[in-house]
Structure formats: C-alpha cells, structure tokens
Subunit: 405 residues, 2 copies
Amino acid sequence: MNVKYSSRMDVVRGSDIREMLKMTQNLDVIYFAGGLPAAELFPTKALGELAKEVIEKEGFRALQYSPTEGYIGLREALVDRLNKVWKAHTTVDQIMITTGSQQGLDLTAKVFLDQGDYVVCERPTYVGAVMAFTLFQPRWIEVPCDDDGMDMAALDAALKNNPRVKFIYIVPNFQNPSGRTWSLERRRQTLAIAAKYDIPIIEDNPYGELYFDEDQPTAIQELDTEGRVISLGTLSKTFCPGLRLGWVNANEEILRKYGLIKQATDLNTSTLDQMIAAWYLQKYDFEADVAEKRIVYRNRRDAMVKAIHEEMPPEIRFVKPRGGLFLWLELPKQINARTVMRRCFERGVAVCPGEGFYPQSPELNTLRLNFSCMPEERIREGIRRLATVMREMLAEAALEQPIEV
Amino acid sequence: MNVKYSSRMDVVRGSDIREMLKMTQNLDVIYFAGGLPAAELFPTKALGELAKEVIEKEGFRALQYSPTEGYIGLREALVDRLNKVWKAHTTVDQIMITTGSQQGLDLTAKVFLDQGDYVVCERPTYVGAVMAFTLFQPRWIEVPCDDDGMDMAALDAALKNNPRVKFIYIVPNFQNPSGRTWSLERRRQTLAIAAKYDIPIIEDNPYGELYFDEDQPTAIQELDTEGRVISLGTLSKTFCPGLRLGWVNANEEILRKYGLIKQATDLNTSTLDQMIAAWYLQKYDFEADVAEKRIVYRNRRDAMVKAIHEEMPPEIRFVKPRGGLFLWLELPKQINARTVMRRCFERGVAVCPGEGFYPQSPELNTLRLNFSCMPEERIREGIRRLATVMREMLAEAALEQPIEV
C-alpha cells in the first residue's frame, strides 16, 4: 500500500526524550534526559486511599464521561490555589482542564495557527511546544535571549515586521531547557509590546513554583489587565504526571474557543484523574508537598552544579538555574551533542541533546541535563561519566585541528 | 483585544451532546441525548480496590510519565483480547493506546489530512468524527447508505472522481447514529474498492461487542490481508468512559506515524487509567461484564422500541437497531428536530437532533435517541413525553399546511 500522509508528516520529528524514556525501564541507567519528577515524592499512600474512596463513593461520576471544561471540583480547587499562590484574580469560567499541559499546547495551535502563520518564541524554546506547533506548519521567529529574558528590541521588530504573528510563546520561569528566569522589567515590557501590536501572550508556567534561591517569580498574567495573557499550567511537576492534568487560564471569550476545540480533540480529560486530584487538593497539605519538592530539587541542583565544577573540563559553560528541573550546557563549537548522547548512552547515562529546542536552526553543541529524578550520589556518578566523555571528545577534536604552520 | 484566531475557528461547531451533558448533573432529567453507558454497571467495588493496589504497589510507575505507545501491560491485554474476541492476528507493535477513541480520530486527521483533502464517510456519520476531522478543514463526500451499508457504486464513484480522498471512514457495527450494521458482503466489497484505489479504511468500532440479536459482526480488519484497515477501539462502552482509554490498531509503518503525532498531542495517556484497566483485564472476568451489558442494553432497547410502537404517531419512522446504544428516528419533513429538542427539554427529556451527524447538508428532521443509560420505566416515560411533543408539532404543522383548493 502506498499511503498518502498529510504534508505535516514531512516536517514532524520525534523527541529524543520520548525515545529515551523507554530507557527508564532499565533502572541501572542514570537518567538526566527527561523532565521526570522524583517518583519517591509521590504521595502514594494517600493517593491509594483516595482513589479507592473516590471510586467507591462516586464511581457513577468518576468513571463516567464528564464536561469538556473539566470537573467543577478541580476547577474550583485550582482557582482557589491560583488566587492564593499566584495572586491571580481568576474564576472557574476562566479555567479549563487539559490532558496535561502538552494538550494545552496542541489546543493553542488549533485555536490560533493557520499554515504559514508566525509563532514568536524564545531561542531556545521548549521542545514540546516545537512539536505541538510544528504539526500546524507555522513559520517561527526565534528571539535571542540574555539572562533576563528576550531581547526587547528584537521582539518589537519581529512583531512590527510580521503581521501574521499569532502569539508570543514564552516560558518565563526556570525555562525548559535553559533554566533562565525573566526579570520583572522584561515581563512588563513584553506585555507593553504585545499590547502595542495587539498580540496575545502564551505564558507556559510549569516550573514557577519550583524556586530555590529567592521568592516565587511574578506571573505575567498577574500584570495583565486586558485578558491578553493565556496561561498554561500543569500538575505534572508539583504533583504527578501520570495523572494527565493541566489547565488553560484565559479570558472567557478565548477560553470558549479552547473548549470547542477540546471537545473535538478528546471530549474530556480523565474524570478519575481529575477527581483524585481535586480531592487531594481539598484534603491534604499540597503546599507542604511543593515545599518538600523545592528542597529536594534544590539539593539535587546543588549536587549537579558542584559535580560539574569539580569534574567537567573548563570549556563547558553553563548558568546555575535558580529553580525548575533543568541545567543547560553549552559545549565548545566542535563538540556535537548527539555524539555525546550516544557515548553517554554506552556508559549508562541518558542525556538530551539541545537541538530539539530550536525549531529552525539548532545549536548542535548544546545539552540539557535534568536533575530532579536521580538521588545525589547518582547525579555525581552521572556527571563523572559525562565529564569523561567530554574530555575524550575534546582530546579527539584537538587532534583533528589543522596544524598551524 | 482583537484576537486573530485560526481559520478553522470559522468552521468549528460545538456538539449538542456535550452541551446537554451538563444536564446530567440534574438527576431528574430523562437523558436520551448522549452515549453514556449505564453507570450502575461500572464495577466500582473491584475498581476501587484495584486503584488502591495499583497506586500502593506501583505508584512510582502509575503516577509517572509513560511511553507514548502506551503501558505495555495494557497493550498486551488488549492484543490478547482482540485476537480472542475479534479473531485478529495482531501484536503489541500494532497497537497504541489513545486518550479515548476521540483522540484516535484527532490523530487520524493529523496523520492524513491537509486542508482541502477529501474524507469519504457514511451519510449520516458519527458526530465526533465530524468534529475532529472538521478542525483540519477537509472536503467531505457523504456516501448514501441502505440497511446493509454504503452504496457501493457511489463509493466507487467517489474514489474514482476524487484523487485527493485520503481515507474511507466507517462505523460498520451498530452505527452511531443510525444503528445500522453492515452486511458481510458490503464489508468485502468495500475492502476490494479500497484496494482498487489504494486508499486506507478507518474502521471505527466502539459498539461491535454490544450485539443483541445475533452473533458478533466480522471486523473488516479481520478480512484485510494488506494492512489497509486502521481500526479504532475503545474501552468507553464496554468498560468505563471516565478512564479515557481507546486504541489504534494498524500496521507498523502507519502506527509509527500515529506515535509521532501522539507525542506532540499529549505525550501519553493517563498512566494510572491504563494500569487500572490492564490489571482489571488480567484479574477479572471482563467477558462476563460485556455479556451483562448486552443483556441490560437489549432490554432497554426493547423497552424503547415497544414504547415507540405504543406511543408514537405512525408518521415517525425508525429501524430497530440490532446492537449498540442508539435508535435513529426520521420525522416527517416538516418537523424540525431542534424544535423537538427544545420542547422535550422543557418537559425534562434530553434528545439529540440529527443535524450534527451530517458534515455538509443536514437532514433537519432526524433525531438520535440513546437507550443505554436510563432504566426501563424512565425510557417508557421519556418516550411518552417525546410522543406528546411529536403529536403537538404534527398538529401545528397540519394547521400550517396550505389548504388545497
């Protein structure tokens, strides 16, 4: 059979991370490749009891179809929390549950993108957004960034020169992959520039509550008085990703569009997952859970940073992330991160090349390391092996240099 | 803010069913509108215990991200069952778990459809497919049907005249909405015509195991020796829809494309839902559950058919469905089913107008009734109220007739 696929199948590419996730079945592997939260922090005892209680008491509802917008108990619990923790002023009519935050990206693409429209994003940007948006065949403008966020002049120029820009996509807190957190000033400026060109902002915020060294950042949505910011949230990093639970928080007109699209996409998110999460948020001390994650992940970040300082050749550059799950390495130009990945793999270490985080012209000498899912001594051992690979490759690269006469 | 949405937002429409699902929160409503399975048949006791066991014993896995293709235990259990119950010859490499069967439709659209491509479907066809495919802005060819399935000459002509047909979408067993089941001969002919034009067949089969009067139908995929048939399955009708679990069963080349697309769509289906279902399939007598549903739904169908015969004016036509969840009414041409819906709503009965089941030119005098989720005495009462509305509207229509001179 000669199957005629859609033209998007010519541009879609798989994620290295999803491929390497299969490696996690082998417990000997030191796994820095994905964005897995620490499974040992899952509240399994409480959730086991709660799942039983939800099904036994309300199985007629928990096991049935449910409204596309989401289970009202979960929407209410999330609204309460957003208003408290993020100083939001949101209501249940402004929140819709999604099947993980990845679905929030898929729905965003469907709501906004026609083939050939422009997406403005950070350089580098989140690989899951690259995958989701690519299916809708947009053009991309990757705006260069420094430690405080996007270059504002470049952002302004991008919007000025391209009337088919549909939205600005950003991960302002402890960005995946770079670890970068935007300054308050850049957040304000971005909002002003978006207003000038009347463009919505997609604020993807999976990591904002996982801050280690200072206070929680300010959400751009909190600064927004026009309903311009569409915020994507998730319980995957602060709770459990196996329950596929995210949300879209947006003004009511925009959210109705997301609702129409979600109907056509999967009718509704798992009712059982939603009810378990809602009951947990109501009955347990979720804030204590998040605080515990901050401590454990900070310690793991510290272990990784220390090991890099001690083990890694000085040619490898990185900025210490102030929160989140990721550390981003820039290697010397002559080092290809895909080769690093393969050699690490042979040594039982899974790492993620950075190229997937660039929708157009990748930097092949970048590497993302995750520090959330391995205990500290495994982190040290993994960095030791990675450093060995780096030294090996630097030595080989030096031999291949043309000899100057 | 003047938001610029994608052009698909101009064509997307919501489903009456999803809107009316909100009515189910009011337990007094007699609900014929959706496709809800009977909640009183959910194995809540067993599932409560099992959910607790899964989370307590394997929470580190059940609450974590999992492979895009699905939890291997569930894929194995489904393959065993398909090979036994449907005489399939499939393997785990040919099955991928989806977030409900609705996601199977979304992924199908993404894998195959460019804007302007043709979809060939039955007339009428499943509203969820209309919604999912419409987002990708195809053109439609609705092939007329009789009691045995599609008109084969019309199908052949459609494929002959339209080289941009990407697939044939059919629900051959106890179709939603019409209740129709295809003859074996038409299944064979369709496969031959698809082969002649080298086109894949999407066989959507949510209801095939819910047969009441005769043996289980033969799957078109069972007749296929070329890997031409892509079968969509679901646990929503035979198990519980609140766990969002469906699957795609296709040849390995095609299934890899679905996998790439699913990655970008929601990474993976709820791990917890998948593990609960897998353990249930392994430990409990699932075949006995399905057999029980056949009996309960047959009795409800019988109650609805009997009530229609007794209560409804003779102008209302329908064919008794031999399985599934739905009964399809054709009303006199002058009766608009949307008005019927509104008047029934005032009398506490939710019904579904047929127009959503036509992607292009709807028959406004059609109505779908679901008989699976209400006990028999509620079905009788609901049909009585519906019949009152019908008589009322027929009398009004008679008054409006031009008087012949």
